[in-house]
Amino acid sequence: MAHILIVEDELSISKLLCKSLALVGHRTCAAFTGEEACRMAQSENFDMAILDVMLPDTDGFSLLARLKPLPVLFLSARGEVSDRIKGLRLGAEDYLPKPFEMQELLARVQVVLRRGHKLAERFSLDGVDVDLDARTVSVQGAQICLTPQEFALLEALIRNRNIALSREQLLSRAWGVDYLGEDRTVDVHIQKLRKKLGWEKRIKTIYKLGYRLEYRP
C-alpha cells in the first residue's frame, strides 16, 4: 500500500490519522513542523502527504511549494471557501476541513493515490488473490467467477479493510446511489462472497451497522 507523510502539529490528530490510514494498510510517517516535513520528504519516498495549514514554524501553503511534486491533501481547521480555493489553486490535490469523517478522508486519500497511480491493485489473504485492476479473483490458485455486484462489494471491503461499512454504503458502492433495493440484498451477496472465498471469519457482521473485512497482519 501507499507510503504517506502526515504533517500535523496536534499530537492527537496526527496519531488519529496515522492509525486510521494504517488500518486500511497504508504506511505513515508523522512530522510536526514544516522543517521536519521537508527533511523527511528529502530522505524518504512518499506517495502523498496530508498537510495541516497552520503549523508552528510555517503555514501549509508555503510548505506545499517545498514538498512539490509530492501530491498533497490539505486537512485544516480553516475551512473557509477562500482557504480551500487558495489551497487548490496552489496545486493541492484536495482540501478537507476539520472536523472530518474518517471514511471521507480515506476515500479522498484513495482518490489522490488513484490519480497518481499509487493505489495498490492486488490483495492477497488466506490463499485468495484479488487483482482489482484486472477484476479477477483466484482461490488457492484457481480462478473463480464473481458477479459485478459481488466484485464491487469485495472491492469496497478490501479498500476499507478493518473499517466497518454500513449496508447503505455497500449498496451505493455496488449497485449505485440510485438503487432502491433493500439492505437484505447486501446480506445475501455477502453470504455468497464469504462462501466463494472461504472468508466466513474474515468478513465480520457488525451489529446494527454492516460488515467489515478484518485483516491485521
Binding site: 472536523p99 473499517i163 451497522l209
Partner: protein, 411 residues
C-alpha cells in the same frame, strides 16, 4: 479572485449601503442649497427686469404726452439705462415692436432673441461665461436683461467639491472605524472557532475510529484516552470563555496583596521560577492576578527548554516575566499586544490565555505588553497605571484598550 471571509462581505455590504445613503444625502444637500440660491437669483433677475421695463415705459409715456416718440428717442432712453446698469454688471438689449434691436450693450456672443420673450434662461457669451437672460415687454418694445450667473455656478461647483471632499474624509474615517470594530468582534470568534475545532476533530475522529475500526484492546484504550484528554481541553476552552465573560461584566475585589506571597504561590506550581520582589505590596484581586501570572509563566515554560529558569520580577509598579526560550518575531509580539487579536498565531494552548490576561490587566487598570528579549527569549511586562493602595474597594472596569508603546527590559 480571492473569496472574501463572511464578515468581510458583510463589511463591504454595510459600507456600500452606508456610502450610498450618505452620498445620496450629500447630493440632496448640495442640490437643495443650489436650488435655493438659484431661485433667489432668478427672482432678483425677474424683479430687476420688471423695474427697468417699467421705468422705460414711464419715460416713453412721458415723451408720448409731450408730443410723440421716435426711434431715436427710444434708443436714447435704452442707452441711458444700458450705461447705468452696465456699470453694475447688468446688460440690456432693447427691441422695437417689430423686433429690430435699437440698443444693445450685451457681452460679445450673447445674442438675445425677441422670440425668447417670457423665458428665463442661462446662456453663454462668446467666452463661455454664462448669464441669466430674460426678455420681456418694455414700453412699446421689448427688453432683454442679462446678468452674470458664473459667480453662482462657480460657487456651487466649489461648494459641491468641498462637500464631496468632506464627505469622502468622513466616509473614510467611518469605513476604518467600522472595519476596526468588526475585526475586534470577529477575530476572537475566528480564533475560538479554530480552538474548538481541534479538540472536536480529535473527539469525533477517535469516536469513529472506535466505532468502525477493527481494533485491539490497547488501541481502543489509547483512543479512549485521547477522547478524555481532548474533552478536558474542550472543558478548558469553555472555562476560559466563562472567565472572560465573567471578567468583562463582573467585579474584581481589590485589596492590598503581599507580592512575595503571590509569587510564592506561583513558584509552587513552577519550581524553575526565580523570583525577585522589590515591591512589597500591590493593590489588586489576588486570585485574578495569580491566574494572570500562572498564564504568563506557563507560556514562558512552554517556550523554554526543559528545566531552564524563568524570572519573575516585581519592580516599582511593574511585574516582569522573562524567559530565554524560543522567542518570537515582532509580528507575533504585535499580535500578543493586541487584546482583540486572540492570542498567539499557533500553539498548543486554547489560544484564549492571552486575551484573558489582557482582560485581567484591564480590570486592574494595568497594561500588559510583550517584547522580544535582547539575546533571545521574551519579556512580558504588566504595568499598573494606578499607584493607589486603597484597601477594600470595588469598581467595575469594562474592557479597556492598550495605551502608548514603550519598551523596557529589566534584564
Amino acid at each position: 479572485m480571492k473569496t472574501a471571509k463572511l464578515w468581510h462581505r458583510q463589511y463591504a455590504a454595510t459600507l456600500l449601503l452606508f456610502l450610498c445613503v450618505f452620498y445620496a444625502c450629500v447630493f440632496f444637500l448640495s442640490q437643495s442649497s443650489f436650488l435655493s440660491a438659484f431661485r433667489s437669483e432668478t427672482q432678483a433677475v425677474v424683479r430687476e427686469h420688471a423695474m427697468i421695463a417699467r421705468s422705460i415705459w414711464i419715460e416713453q409715456a412721458a415723451l408720448q404726452s409731450r408730443g410723440g416718440t421716435s426711434e431715436a428717442a427710444e434708443q436714447a432712453i435704452a442707452a441711458e439705462y444700458g450705461a447705468y446698469y452696465g456699470r453694475r454688471g447688468m446688460y440690456l438689449c432693447y427691441f422695437d415692436a417689430a423686433g429690430k434691436a435699437l440698443y444693445s450693450n450685451m457681452p460679445e456672443g450673447l445674442m438675445p432673441e425677441r422670440a425668447d420673450a417670457g423665458i428665463l434662461q442661462t446662456a453663454p457669451d462668446g467666452k463661455g461665461v454664462r448669464y441669466f437672460l430674460l426678455t420681456g415687454p418694455a414700453g412699446t418694445g421689448f427688453l432683454s436683461y442679462a446678468r452674470e450667473a458664473e459667480t453662482l455656478l462657480d460657487g456651487q461647483r466649489r461648494y459641491s467639491l468641498l462637500l464631496v471632499g468632506v464627505a469622502a474624509l468622513f466616509a473614510l474615517s467611518m469605513a476604518m472605524g467600522l472595519y476596526v470594530m468588526l475585526r475586534r468582534v470577529y477575530r476572537p470568534m475566528d480564533r475560538l472557532a479554530h480552538e474548538l475545532r481541534t479538540p472536536l476533530t480529535a473527539i469525533h475522529g477517535y469516536a469513529q475510529y472506535i466505532a468502525l475500526g477493527a481494533l485491539r484492546e490497547e488501541e481502543r484504550m489509547e483512543a479512549a484516552r485521547f477522547i478524555e484528554a481532548e474533552s478536558g481541553r474542550l472543558r478548558g476552552v469553555a472555562d476560559t470563555l466563562l472567565s472572560l465573560s465573567t471578567l468583562r461584566y463582573g467585579e474584581a475585589s481589590m485589596e492590598r496583596i503581599r507580592v512575595a506571597a503571590l509569587f510564592q504561590r506561583v513558584s509552587k506550581i513552577y519550581p524553575q521560577l526565580h523570583t525577585t520582589v522589590e515591591t512589597p505590596f500591590i493593590t489588586g484581586d489576588a486570585a485574578l492576578l495569580e491566574s494572570l501570572l500562572i498564564n504568563l509563566v506557563d507560556n514562558a515554560v512552554h517556550a523554554s527548554p526543559e528545566g531552564m529558569s524563568i524570572e519573575l520580577i516585581a519592580r516599582e509598579n511593574r511585574f516582569f516575566v522573562l524567559d530565554r526560550g524560543t522567542g518570537m518575531g515582532e509580528a507575533a509580539c504585535r499580535r500578543l499586544n493586541d487584546p482583540g487579536a486572540g492570542g498567539a498565531p499557533s500553539g498548543k494552548g486554547t489560544g484564549l490565555g492571552i486575551p484573558l490576561c489582557h482582560e485581567i490587566a484591564a480590570m486592574h487598570r494595568a497594561k500588559l505588553r510583550f517584547y522580544v528579549r535582547d539575546g533571545g527569549g521574551c519579556v512580558a511586562r504588566l504595568e499598573f497605571l494606578q499607584s493607589s493602595d486603597n484597601s477594600k474597594m470595588k469598581w467595575k472596569q469594562r474592557y479597556g484598550s492598550m495605551g502608548k508603546k514603550g519598551k523596557e527590559n529589566p534584564s
